[in-house]
């Protein structure tokens, strides 16, 4: 096991930059999830750590040793690929033992390593099969098995669950979490699925456009997103945004002495004073769908466009000042919502972002 340090790492293809200086310290045994939309550079970063992509600038250290110029095989890491990349002409056992055989490990040692990994992953009855005779979930397990037999310094996962169906994905997610609790191996996990990120990570690294947007525990990202991107990316359904202007004191109208955000129709939504915002500065108000409250005497009226029952709860698609706006509620009464509803925004759940999109506190 090992720590991994990433210091102002950059990557460009020709003159086209894809990563602009990434800094990240990963502690020994930590489970880090790189999350972001496709093209944000998360896979590139992972492949650079693996040694599959060259580092344009900066430094990557594993256990304190610079690995920029080391071949993948000399970095002592294991990787699980999205396609699993199992060797189709080898049996499951051979797939799992390939790395050990290359290292000329003793036969008994290989057998015991493969045996215990197979046991952990429930692959015992499949060891003699070839990958094409396995289901997607089983292949996924073999790919994991291939990674754990070696007891590497770190595990890298490149969207390992995205080829599985929803049910299986949920199940494997739990297994990966258990496995990590069991092995306590430093892990870096790339995904575009924020649920995977939230459930698996010790810390999430949210990336966008080749820049790290925020690093923190899942709940930090959920509760205090650093900017509009993180706020919109984490959480499902996504956070609602309303644009307006920051007003203080007398100018605040309904807000009286406090501060507020004046929306385009003149309504002022009271918020706690934000030191980082100048009066009358453009600001964006954010609130998660699950935090919006439907109230008969709510301060804003919104038209109901669509009602989506999910079973667990209900998603209301509203239009507020002509802009889409969502509510998530567990209250079944919402199913029979009229053409309009009145909504309230509890102040403690409001997020305010400045003109540049950064969180204002």
């Amino acid at each position: 096991m090992a720590s991994i340090d990433i210091e102002s790492v950059r990557k460009s293809y020709g003159s086209f930059p894809v990563l602009h200086g990434v800094d990240l310290e990963i502690k020994d045994g930590e489970f880090i999830v790189l999350v972001g939309p496709s093209g944000c550079g998360k896979s590139t970063l992972l492949r650079m750590i693996a040694g599959l992509e060259e580092v344009t600038g900066g430094e990557i250290r594993i256990s304190g040793n610079r690995v920029n110029d080391l071949a993948p095989k000399d970095r002592d890491i294991a990787m699980v690929f999205q396609s699993y990349a199992l060797y189709p002409h080898m049996s499951v056992a051979d797939n799992m033992s390939y790395s050990l055989r290359l290292r000329k490990t003793a036969k008994e040692k290989i057998a015991s390593a493969v045996g215990s990994a197979a046991k952990k992953l429930g692959l015992d009855p499949l060891l003699e099969r070839r990958p094409k005779a396995l289901s997607g979930g089983q292949r996924q397990r073999v790919a994991m098995g291939r990674a754990i037999v070696r007891q590497p310094k770190a595990f890298l996962f490149d969207e390992p669950l995205s080829n599985l169906d929803a049910r299986l994905r949920e199940q494997m997610r739990a297994e990966i979490k258990k496995l990590h609790a069991d092995l306590k191996a430093t892990s870096i996990y790339v995904t575009h699925d924020q649920i995977e990120a939230m459930t698996l990570a010790d810390r999430i690294v949210a990336m966008h456009g080749g820049i790290v947007q925020q690093v923190g525990t899942p709940l930090e990202l959920y509760d205090t997103p650093a900017n509009l991107f993180v706020a919109g990316f984490i959480g499902s359904p996504g956070m609602n945004f309303l644009e307006g202007r920051y007003v203080v004191g007398g100018g605040a109208g309904a807000a009286g002495e406090g501060a507020g955000i004046r929306l385009s129709d003149g309504t002022v939504v009271p918020v706690a004073p934000r030191a980082g915002l100048a009066p009358d500065a453009a600001a964006t108000l954010g609130i998660r769908p699950e935090h919006v409250v439907i109230a008969e005497n709510g301060m804003l009226e919104a038209g109901v466009d669509l009602v989506e029952p999910t079973g667990f709860g209900i998603i209301l698609h509203l239009s507020l000042h002509g802009l889409p706006f969502k509510i998530f509620t567990l209250d079944r009464d919402a199913l029979s919502a009229g053409p309009t509803v009145r909504v309230d925004f509890p102040q403690k759940h409001l997020h305010v972002f400045d003109e540049a999109g950064n969180r204002a506190d």
């Binding site: 693996a50 040694g51 599959l52 071949a71 993948p72 095989k73 890491i77 294991a78 990787m79 690929f81 396609s83 990349a85 199992l86 060797y87 189709p88 002409h89 080898m90 390939y98 790395s99 290359l102 290292r103 070839r130 291939r146 070696r150």
Partner: protein, 306 residues
């Protein structure tokens, strides 16, 4: 009793039409296949058992296995058989080796790869007779540079034509054949190489495999079915391929480059003995069939294993 049955039975014409329908639909294809493939094949095979000499108007009679008995005694045929093995084995081996190397080189991205790929495949487009003439001239010390270069390199005492050297003559057509046939292997192997998922190589390099190990444990197993089928095709093709030999050496000197295919050509079109030529061709056909069967079986077992 008979009345209702008769009523249900459609008229004879309709029944005939119904019964013959599938045959009528497939008839055009079947007639074409029989006329174009089977008839010539049967006629050709029948020649092997008849005495057919173009210059003898009284020939044409059935001679049974006489041709095959004569063939059994024919030293020239055995020589041609040995030469065929040599010619085919060396040509296929060298074409395959260079083709594979070329395919591996072209599989790596580099600047101008598209152009190089196009150029590499050019020899394949050259007519074989032209290729033969070209190489014959290259080996000719009067007009070609090769003998002089060999001499300069110390491979030859003095510039002479290897095509007239009984011990070396076979290398002339083999060289021409290798040059001409490399693109076939390069094209097919390159296509097979590009079908190998890249992440397998990445997984292997993370697993600790060096370039040689990656080649042995990923590239080769993936290429094996393609290699088997291309080698089979080329072997049959080359052992039947007399163009270069006829153009460059005409089987000489002293039958040293006579292969079975060129021997058939000589018997049929120089001696005009079509009966005997057909008998030789039939033997060659049988040998190649056996060989093909073996390779197909080998490929099948390999595919089943994989």
């Amino acid at each position: 009793m008979h009345q209702p049955i008769k009523k249900h039975r459609p008229p004879l014409k309709k029944r005939l039409a119904d019964a013959s329908e599938p045959y009528l639909y497939s008839a055009p294809a079947l007639i074409l296949i029989v006329a174009v493939m089977l008839v010539p094949l049967v006629v050709g095979i029948s020649y092997a058992f008849r005495d057919i000499q173009l210059l003898n108007p009284f020939s044409g009679g059935f001679v049974g296995l006489d041709h095959f008995r004569a063939l059994g005694q024919d030293e020239a045929f055995y020589g041609a058989l040995r030469n065929t093995l040599w010619w085919t084995g060396a040509s296929v081996f060298l074409q395959f080796t260079f083709g594979l190397i070329l395919a591996l080189l072209l599989d790596k991205p580099f600047y101008g790869r598209g152009l190089v790929q196009a150029l590499v495949f050019l020899p394949w487009a050259v007519p074989s007779f032209l290729a033969g003439l070209n190489w014959a001239w290259l080996f000719n010390p009067v007009i070609g540079p090769l003998p002089h270069w060999f001499t300069a390199l110390g491979l030859m005492d003095e510039p002479h034509n290897i095509l007239s050297d009984p011990h070396l003559a076979m290398w002339g057509p083999i060289a021409a054949n290798v040059w001409w046939g490399i693109p076939f292997f390069a094209i097919t192997l390159l296509a097979a190489l590009q079908a190998i998922p890249r992440d397998l190589y990445e997984a292997a390099s993370i697993d600790g495999a060096g370039p040689v190990q990656r080649f042995m444990s990923i590239t080769l197993p993936f290429l094996a079915p393609t290699i088997a089928i291309t080698v089979l095709l080329r072997t049959v093709w080359i052992s039947n391929f007399a163009d270069l030999i006829v153009v460059m050496t005409n089987g000489g000197p002293a039958d040293r480059t006579q292969i079975v295919a060129s021997y058939i050509f000589t018997q049929a079109f120089k001696r005009l003995d079509f009966g005997y030529a057909s008998a030789i061709a039939l033997v060659l056909l049988a040998l190649l069939l056996v060989y093909s069967m073996l390779i197909v079986l080998l490929r099948q077992t390999m595919l089943n294993k994989g």
